[in-house]
Structures are given as structure tokens and as C-alpha cells.
Symmetry: C2
Subunit: 270 residues, 2 copies
């Protein structure tokens, strides 16, 4: 399990301001801090972009890649911005993401094929709703997989996000328990060792004691890791959570154990 940092959100006022003035410095400072804190990939969440979506996205991608070689997840629902980000990309880009929503299938999925990049597929229905039922989620995974292949994607390009639900939802506990099973069973269901990703912050959305939130996230993360999750999206400044990822990486790999969790850089983890 490797870490995608979710801190690069252009809705942050300092970044929105920097984007407006085409000042790469705040992006670069943040990206370097994210990498130093242990990020193994960076999610670039632009939020809603303005009229100059394409130019804005290109600027963001260039700002990130001017200081980092990490994979960059281009996180936008705007196909024009997505294409501009892929054009600007000079390193490793991942499309974040698609779902069975017709617009995404029609306008985002072909970009993954055209630019030959990995793409995150969310287990959401055609209206971008989370299925409440486990069988529905399995059926969506199969349909998404098959439609990606039909569109010309190679199996290796798809990364599935089964979508963590907020615990405070009425059936939040059941959904997230089902999610563990989905992560474990997807490779068998798709007859391929498909990679999976999950966003951790969604779990503890809402009011709640901060320390308890972190503990819940870390313990659920450990369950996800044991289920075989490939990537986790999290706030890289939650140092305890990052340390927990390192411990999970250690527990689940084949090295000889050592007490220093930082000695394991995750390079041998799945």
C-alpha cells in the first residue's frame, strides 16, 4: 500500500490566489513538503476551474512537476482541463477519475486510452450514486471493467476506488465493512490482480473528536491494507496516520522485521 497525498486542493485560498497570479511558488513549497512527509503520489484536486480551465490546469501540472517526479493524479471532472493536464504532463499522470456516469465514459475514459495513462474508476452508478448493496457494487465493478476494456483500455491501466462512505451515514458501518470484502475479492471477481485505491478522509466526515477520528482512520486503514489495498489517499500532514501506513507496509511485506518503521520505505510493498 502506497500513499497518495490529498493536500493539493486548489480550493485552498493561498493556492487559488497563486493560481490566479500564475505564481508557482506556493505549489512548489507545498509539493516539496508533501514529498518530504512521505507522499508517494500527489492528487491535484483543482475543484471547479474558471473559463481558462485548460491553461489553469496546465499551469498546476507544470508547477507540481517542476519540483517533483512523483506520479500526479489529475483530479477533475472537466474533460477540457483533463486533456490540458495530460498534455502538460511530462512524468507519470493518472486520471482521477471515471465512473459509469455517461459523461465520464464518453469524455474522460477515451483520454486514458489516448494518453495511455492509468485511470481511477469509482464504483458509483450511472448517476454517480454510491450503491448501497454489495451485489450492486460487484456488478458495477464488472460493468466498469468491461466497458473500460471495450473502450480500448488495457486491464493494467484501471485502478478501482470502491468509495469509502462516511461512518455517520445510517448504514456507514455496513458499507465500509462491505468495502473491505470488495477490496479483497476484486482480483478474483475480475480475474486479474486489479489495483485498488481508497480515500481515507471521507470515513470520518462530520463533527467528531479529532484524536478519535485519527485512531478510527488508522485502524480502518490497517484493515484495508490487510485486504490488499494498493493505494490510500490521505492528508500527508497526519503524521501518525502516515506512520501507521509504514507499519502496515512492514507487517504485510516479506522483509525481515526491524523496529525502525522508517527503514521500510514501502518500495517492496504492493
Amino acid at each position: 500500500m502506497k500513499i497518495i497525498a490529498d493536500n493539493l486542493q486548489i480550493t485552498r485560498s493561498d493556492l487559488a490566489d497563486a493560481l490566479f497570479h500564475r505564481n508557482p511558488d506556493p505549489f512548489q513549497v507545498l509539493v516539496q513538503a508533501m514529498e518530504a512527509a512521505g507522499a508517494e503520489a500527489i492528487d491535484l484536486n483543482t475543484g471547479p476551474l474558471g473559463r481558462n480551465a485548460a491553461r489553469e490546469m496546465a499551469f498546476c501540472v507544470e508547477a507540481v512537476q517542476s519540483v517533483s517526479d512523483l506520479p500526479i493524479l489529475i483530479d477533475t471532472a472537466n474533460p477540457v482541463a483533463m486533456r490540458a493536464g495530460l498534455e502538460a504532463n511530462r512524468k507519470v499522470a493518472v486520471i482521477n477519475g471515471i465512473s459509469l456516469e455517461p459523461q465520464k465514459m464518453a469524455e474522460i475514459l477515451p483520454l486514458a486510452v489516448q494518453y495511455d495513462v492509468d485511470v481511477i474508476g469509482y464504483l458509483l452508478d450511472g448517476r454517480s450514486q454510491m450503491p448501497s448493496d454489495q451485489d450492486d457494487r460487484m456488478a458495477i465493478a464488472l460493468e466498469l471493467f468491461q466497458r473500460c476494456l471495450s473502450a480500448g483500455l488495457r486491464t493494467e491501466q484501471l485502478i478501482i476506488d470502491p468509495v469509502v462512505a462516511p461512518l455517520i451515514w445510517q448504514d456507514g458501518l455496513r458499507r465500509n465493512r462491505d468495502l473491505l470484502e470488495i477490496v479483497r475479492r476484486l482480483p478474483e471477481l475480475l480475474d486479474f490482480p486489479v489495483r485498488t485505491v481508497a480515500g481515507l478522509s471521507n470515513l470520518t466526515t462530520g463533527q467528531g473528536p479529532r484524536n478519535l477520528k485519527r485512531r478510527i482512520e488508522q485502524l480502518y486503514l490497517s484493515m484495508l491494507a490487510a485486504a490488499g489495498l494498493s493505494w490510500v489517499l490521505l492528508d500527508i500532514h497526519h503524521h501518525d496516520t502516515v506512520a501507521s501506513v509504514r507499519i502496515c507496509q512492514t507487517l504485510l511485506n516479506d522483509d525481515i522485521f526491524a523496529w525502525d518503521p522508517t527503514a521500510n520505505d514501502g518500495s517492496s510493498a504492493p
Copy 2:
């Protein structure tokens, strides 16, 4: 997943002294503290007993049960002491434990049948060695299960302990990863929802930073919980670890989520 406290070890000098003088007070004080800290069962580990093994064990069981209704795990390899403990028991007792070791099969297992109590079966070979290979461990589980049934045990009475290995062993990481799979697969292997138990302290045996040990234990515990572990044996004074059990219980049950983990007393957990 419920908690068995492993703190009642007669090798502790204060308890050894109290036993010698047949003074139940230190036992009672400790047992009440264990229950207050969240113990849902109590392991009574007598260590090597003297010439008066039977009387000493009876005294210990009576001391515990004079202040607590919790299930008591009688943890001795001495069949005379085991029988005395079962005779003294007035509440719920569990035999801890048996293995394929011939002496245990011949002298301890029949006591579980005779006294109609649950019994913990360790996945160890006939010489009480831990199998290093996963297939061997599965084979031992099957043989243990079948020999218990042949001896007249009801399936419901057996609780399997797959035996956590110290991480510092050369293959400690692999063994404990295999253990997660064993816990998950045992019900299918034995075609029965067999209960499982694991002792957590063995994981971090040896020199190592204390806080890191606790974090590793908690994250591995979470993996065990998700794999379906029924009971965990731990130091009840590790409050963070106990809190982690409560969170795991919450994450894995069907209630509606609430931020207070102590609101969940584990009564609806497996």
C-alpha cells in the same frame, strides 16, 4: 472480538506471595481492576505450581470468582491443577489449552469433555512446535478438530489459537501474515463458524521502543479483527490497545455509528 486480560500471572511476586499465604486480597483487587479496565474474560496463568498444585489452583479460581462473574481461562499444563480448577469453578471456565502434544490430548482434552467446558486448541505440532508452513498449519487445525470430535467434544466447545509469532523471528512477518489468512479461512476449512483467539503480546516480544510496540500491536489487532478473530488476549492496562479493540468492535458490527467508542460495549460484536 472480545478481550481476555492476560494480567493475572501468578509468576508476579505479589501474587506468588499472596498465593503462598492464601491471601485472596491482591487477586481480588487485580481482578476488579481488570474488569473495570474492560476485561471480558480473565486468563488465570498459574505458571509452574508447587506440590499443592490442586489446592493452589482451587484457591486462585475461588479468589477470582469471589469478585467477578467473567469467564475464567484456566491456563496451566498441569492436568491435576486443571481438574482442580474445573472442580472449583462455579461460573464459566475455559480450558487453556490443548494441542496435538500427546500428553495434552490424553490428559487435558478429556477434562473439557467431562466438565463440558470450552477449550482452546493451539495450532502446534505434536512436539508443541509452531508449524512454519501454512499448509502444515491448516493440516494441524483439521487434525486437532477431528481428534477433539473423536474424543467427544462438541464442535462449539473448541476455540482455536493459531499462535502469534514474535515479529523478530526471521520469518515472523510471514508467519503473522499467514495467521490472518488462517483466522479468515478456518470457518470454511472446518465447515463450522469456529471461534478463534490470539495472544497479542507475543507479537512484539523482545527489545523495542514501547510506543512503537503498542502501535504495531494495535494495527495488527485491527487486521485480526477484520479477519474475524473472536477473542484477543492482551494486557488490559494498555488502555490505547483496549480503546483500539472498542473501535474495531464498532467498525465491524452493524450498529449505527456514534463518536463515543465506549458507548459500544462489544456486546453485539462476534
